[in-house]
């Protein structure tokens, strides 16, 4: 039964209303209230230039993007083969892999982060095991630094990448791979010339999702990072909780929102237009 425009809108209405009420509304109110404290537009502009010009904040913005970028790379490198294994797995193996991927998904981020801290600490399981085996003489610094942030974030964000890639890979017609093989392509060429290009949109979508989620990360870098791993969400929290400088927090929120929305626009465009592929 076709719904029509009005019907679809009616079905969407409760969600839209809720989002307006608990998401768009508060952000709008927060931004206008915080920036309103500054007074006129020119005063806001002055404060914005000063804020974005400050070394701490600039460093945090760059840090945030750099960390999100690194995490995206690691997640992609780990996620691609895993997603492929998932497309090939059948029956019990499929369920097992899927549960392994999804189970942590249902556990709180804080719990997971603390679990990693138990593993990665100076006297954590990994260091003790490696020391015990004689692989290393000194405990590795796996936490309270960049390594810790990347490990923690990778772990949290991996499922998003795997699930996005999985759906892209599942959509590849296996007969195309067989055809390529029949036309003389080696397994590597089948991958490079057919499979990978046909899953590229999934790679881009997954990378964007992971990056978008990554720039907004707060708990993991706060718990597992070192003093050099301040991310923008942490600064926002500090401005609100500690210094109670709402205008600065609002300006940084705007920056984060702008980055997120523009990446989302890229994602949307990309998933709408796939050259050469049927819509």
């Amino acid at each position: 039964m076709p719904l029509g425009r009005l019907g679809a809108l009616l079905l969407l209405a409760p969600t839209l209303l809720l989002m307006l009420l608990i998401f768009v509304g508060p952000i709008g109110w927060f931004l206008s209230a915080a920036l309103g404290e500054l007074g006129s537009l020119s005063e806001i502009w002055e404060e914005a230039v000063a804020t974005l010009g400050s070394r701490t904040i600039l460093a945090a913005i760059l840090n945030t993007n750099w960390i999100a970028f690194l995490v995206t790379l690691v997640v992609l490198a780990l996620g691609y083969p895993l997603a492929y294994a998932l497309t090939r797995a059948k029956g019990l193996a499929f369920t097992a892999i899927l549960v392994c991927i999804l189970l942590p998904y249902f556990t709180s981020v804080i719990v997971r982060t603390y679990a990693w801290m138990v593993l990665l600490g100076r006297n954590g399981l990994i260091n003790q095991a490696l020391l015990g085996l004689g692989v290393i003489q000194q405990p590795l610094e796996l936490m309270y630094n960049r390594t810790g942030v990347i490990i923690g974030m990778t772990y949290v964000l991996l499922p998003y990448m795997i699930l996005t890639l999985y759906s892209a890979m599942k959509a590849v017609d296996p007969r195309l791979l067989q055809a390529a093989e029949g036309m003389g392509a080696s397994p590597f060429e089948v991958f490079r010339k057919v499979f990978f290009p046909l899953t590229l949109h999934g790679v881009v979508a997954g990378a964007l999702i992971v990056f978008i989620l990554g720039v907004g990360f707060f708990i993991t870098p706060a718990l597992m990072g070192g003093p050099g791993d301040i991310m923008i969400a942490m600064l926002i929290e500090r401005e609100i909780e500690l210094t109670q400088n709402w205008p600065v927090a609002a300006l940084m929120t705007l920056v984060l929102l702008a980055v997120t929305l523009s990446l989302y626009a890229v994602y949307h465009r990309f998933s709408a237009e796939r050259p050469g592929l049927a819509a």
Binding site: G182, A185, L198, G276
Partner: protein, 360 residues
């Protein structure tokens, strides 16, 4: 490795005792085929007859449980598809959606690392052969079914493989286009001298295109021969029924020949009944109808018209003979031909040379 008989008689394809089992089920059972260079051979059969599995073993997508695949004297039974150097047209065309027409057709050359200049010339030649020049920059989704079929065909021949395999390539096209493509495929095949193995379940297509047809049933070759031979001299009831309309009159042995279930005398130029009897096979178009009851004689049966359908160039009658099954008769709608109406008494007759006895 050339055999003693010399390269001239080395078959392009030799299948020996080819067998494939899936679990307890034998899908291809002891298939033997000897296909000459430049021959157009069709594997014809209903779905599940093993024709596609046979083709897949030939292509290398499926490895046989027993038997050998020999291409131009080279045993490739265990070789992967890429080592067999075959061209192939797939049932669903398998056109790469991320590549345009040019790169699709160029694919077999690209994996052979041919220089760009040669790729361009060959792709151009192939596209010209399938009449698809001017479409190089299009993607599959911008092409009609017939055009996609041409891309698949161009891609199969672009590297000039000695053997091209086709798996129901015209199944998705409408009737007119299908006929058109049959003619074109046949023409390209003749021009390039390619050995062709063609899989279809469409008997008309098989009859039109093939030099020889292998009719498959339950994983075995039920009969192998040129179109006319398999059509006119089927060796069993399955082949007779599968290749178009067939009358199979229950028959039993009698002194000096055979009789119908009701005892009317029959005379056949070939074939034999089994010990338990069998069938007399005669094609509907080989039967002549004349007005009035029959004078006695072999292959002359009286009956009444039960049903007449006008098919345009042919009128198809169902004639009630008092035998277990009515007799189908196709009468050409020729100039001055009489058309019988239901209930009319007629005599159906045919030549001994046009019918054949089949064991049950």
């Amino acid at each position: 490795m050339p055999r003693d008989s010399g390269p001239a008689t080395t078959p392009a394809i030799l299948l020996e005792g080819l067998t494939k089992r899936y679990g307890a089920e034998t899908v291809v059972a002891d298939v033997n085929l000897d296909i000459a260079p430049g021959e157009f051979l069709t594997l014809l059969g209903p779905s599940g007859s093993g024709k596609t599995t046979t083709l897949s073993m030939l292509a290398g997508f499926v490895l046989p449980d027993a038997g050998r695949v020999v291409l131009a004297g080279r045993d490739v039974s265990k070789a992967p598809p890429r080592a067999r150097g075959l061209g192939m047209v797939f049932q669903n065309y398998a056109i790469f959606p991320h590549l345009d027409v040019f790169e699709n057709v160029a694919f077999p050359l690209r994996v052979q690392r041919k220089p760009q200049k040669e790729v361009e010339t060959r792709v151009w030649d192939a596209l010209q052969m399938v009449k698809l020049t001017g479409f190089e920059k299009r993607y599959a989704r911008q092409l009609s079914g017939g055009q996609q079929q041409r891309v698949a065909l161009a891609r199969a021949i672009v590297a000039h493989p000695p053997v091209v395999l086709m798996d129901e390539p015209l199944g998705a096209l409408d009737k007119n286009l299908r006929y058109h493509m049959q003619v074109e495929i046949k023409e390209i095949q003749r021009r390039l001298g390619t050995t062709m193995v063609y899989v279809t379940h469409d008997q008309e297509e098989a009859l039109t295109m093939s030099d020889r047809i292998a009719i498959m049933n339950h994983g075995r070759i039920a009969q192998l021969g040129p179109p006319r031979e398999v059509y006119e001299k089927p060796e069993n009831a399955f082949v007779a029924r599968f290749l178009g309309e067939a009358n199979l009159l229950a028959a039993k042995p009698a002194a000096g020949g055979a009789v119908t279930a009701k005892g009317a005398p029959l005379e056949a130029g070939s074939g034999a009944l089994g010990a338990e009897g069998g069938f007399l096979f005669v094609r509907p178009e080989k039967v002549t109808l004349s007005a009035g009851a029959a004078p006695a004689g072999p292959n002359r049966l009286s009956g009444t018209i039960r049903h007449a359908s006008f098919l345009g160039n042919v009128v198809r009658y169902a004639v009630e003979l008092g035998e277990p099954e009515p007799l189908l008769v196709d009468a050409a709608n020729a100039a001055g031909a009489a058309i019988f109406g239901p209930g009319e008494t007629v005599t159906a007759s045919w030549d001994a040379g046009d019918c054949r006895l089949l064991a049950g």
